[in-house]
């Protein structure tokens, strides 16, 4: 049997270990009975193990813990410990547990995490390099400055989106602010915010976001904000923008509303590159719909996209649920 197997009395008193336990740990038979087991684990892991074990003993809930177990040669190896209660006539009569060596798998997971972080930093660096390349181009082609400056700003917006777009591993998954639409929207609009936080108001439901959604959302919001700063509400001190993102579980609806800017008397005629980029990102890439209303008090844009196009785990989540 490759696994270590142990068993305890209902109160947690260890009274049995299989041969593999003794082979792995090299300790004399019987020496880890009672509470002696705990000394076999790394001192740093003992408090957690005890806490979980006591919890299981008190509640009857399954026991599961990752801890470092001392091998016969003195080396601590990551181990998965599990135990289940055995019932007879509705009462726990024993606990049966196992320990499985997961050291290699744990190391591979840690290496992957390090590698993934390193790659992420390099990608961020590349955005800076691309921005520099365009800046250099501007220096030798000053007549193209306005167009190329716009390009630099778009590249930087994509760089910001990357923090939200990077694929999450098991370990980085809980970094919640970095996987929610709200965080990305606030980040993208930060350059336009006033000190009192009243110029740009963002509100959003809890909407998950990954690399599928972050890039097109970043481009759309960047273009809307840039336009507002040039011609719309953000071009004057009195102007305000509100951005509200809501979901019904299937669709996400984002409403961008400008107020307090120059009064709009007619719909602007031309479709600039920025507008094309918004349309391509919103309608083509996110398969959403978009309406623009040129209201007298300011532009209002309503974008509706399927949730699954912002966050691909949504599909598997639904299937699992």
């Amino acid at each position: 049997m490759p696994q270590m197997v142990w068993s305890t009395l209902p109160d947690g008193f260890h009274d049995y270990y299989n041969a593999q336990w003794y082979r792995f740990t090299g300790v004399p038979e019987g020496s880890t009975d009672g509470e002696g087991w705990s000394g076999m684990f790394h001192a740093d892991d003992q408090p957690v193990a005890w806490e979980k074990w006591r919890h299981s003993l008190a509640t009857g809930e399954p026991y599961e813990v990752e801890y470092r177990l001392r091998r016969h040669d003195g080396v601590y190896r990551w181990t998965l410990g599990r135990a289940l209660p055995v019932y007879r006539d509705g009462r726990i009569v024993r606990w049966i547990g196992t320990c499985t060596d997961i050291h290699e798998a744990k190391q591979v997971a840690e290496q992957n995490e390090v590698l993934s972080r390193e790659l992420s930093h390099r990608i961020k660096n590349i955005f800076a390099v691309i921005a520099g390349l365009v800046e250099m181009t501007i220096r030798s082609n000053p007549e193209h400055r306005p167009v190329l400056r716009g390009l630099v700003e778009r590249v930087i917006a994509l760089g910001r989106a990357h923090n939200f777009a990077r694929p999450h591993s098991e370990m980085s998954q809980p970094e919640l602010p970095n996987s929610q639409l709200y965080g990305l929207l606030v980040e993208l609009l930060a350059p336009y915010q006033s000190d009192n936080g009243e110029r740009v108001r963002v509100s959003a439901d809890e909407i998950m976001l990954d690399d599928r959604g972050a890039t097109p959302i970043a481009l759309i919001i960047h273009e809307l904000a840039t336009n507002a700063a040039k011609y719309g509400a953000l071009s004057v001190d009195s102007g305000q923008v509100t951005l509200d993102a809501r979901t019904d579980g299937t669709q996400v609806t984002m409403v961008w509303t400008e107020t307090g800017g120059p009064k709009i008397t007619a719909e602007p005629p031309e479709q600039g590159f920025g507008s094309q980029l918004i349309a391509l990102s919103g309608e083509r890439q996110l398969a959403g719909t978009m309406t623009r209303e040129w209201l007298r008090e300011g532009l209002r844009v309503t974008i509706t996209v399927p949730v699954r196009n912002l966050y691909r785990h949504h599909d598997s989540y639904l299937q699992a649920g």
């Binding site: 972080r117 930093h121 390099r122 961020k124 660096n125 955005f127 800076a128 390099v129 691309i130 921005a131 520099g132 390349l133 800046e135 250099m136 501007i138 630099v152 590249v155 930087i156 760089g159 910001r160 930060a190 350059p191």
Partner: protein, 117 residues
């Protein structure tokens, strides 16, 4: 304000230089390693943007500390702020790459305000 840029990726340095110039800050020079950075310090800059991983290794934190000791306002610019944990003893401001101009402007403004008060 007169700035130096310590960065071994010249295009990233160009980006930083353009951003500083748009903020009206003259750039005295760029350096790729410790020797270059300390050489530029002779020109008495008031501000230094310092990356962490440079041509001579992970020397940014020490360069930053040395420049700060000479009275230069140091701002770290890095793709990996986590690397500063425990080594940013003077608590110099940190900006993430790619550099965002509004954050750079805010950081520089707060340095100015501190100097004036």
């Amino acid at each position: 304000m007169r700035a130096i840029i310590v960065e071994d990726e010249f295009l990233a340095a160009i980006h930083a230089e353009s951003a500083l110039e748009r903020l009206g800050i003259a750039v005295l020079g760029m350096a790729e390693d410790t020797q270059g950075a300390l050489g530029l310090a002779a020109h008495k800059p008031t501000l230094a943007l310092v990356d962490l991983n440079l041509r001579d290794g992970f020397t940014g934190p020490l360069i930053g500390a040395q420049l700060a000791a000479m009275g230069v306002n140091v701002v770290y610019v890095t793709a990996n702020p986590g690397q500063l944990d425990g080594v940013n003893t003077l608590r110099s401001p940190v900006l993430e790459k790619p550099l965002e101009e509004h954050k750079l402007a805010n950081t520089i403004r707060s340095i100015f305000q501190k100097e004036e008060s």
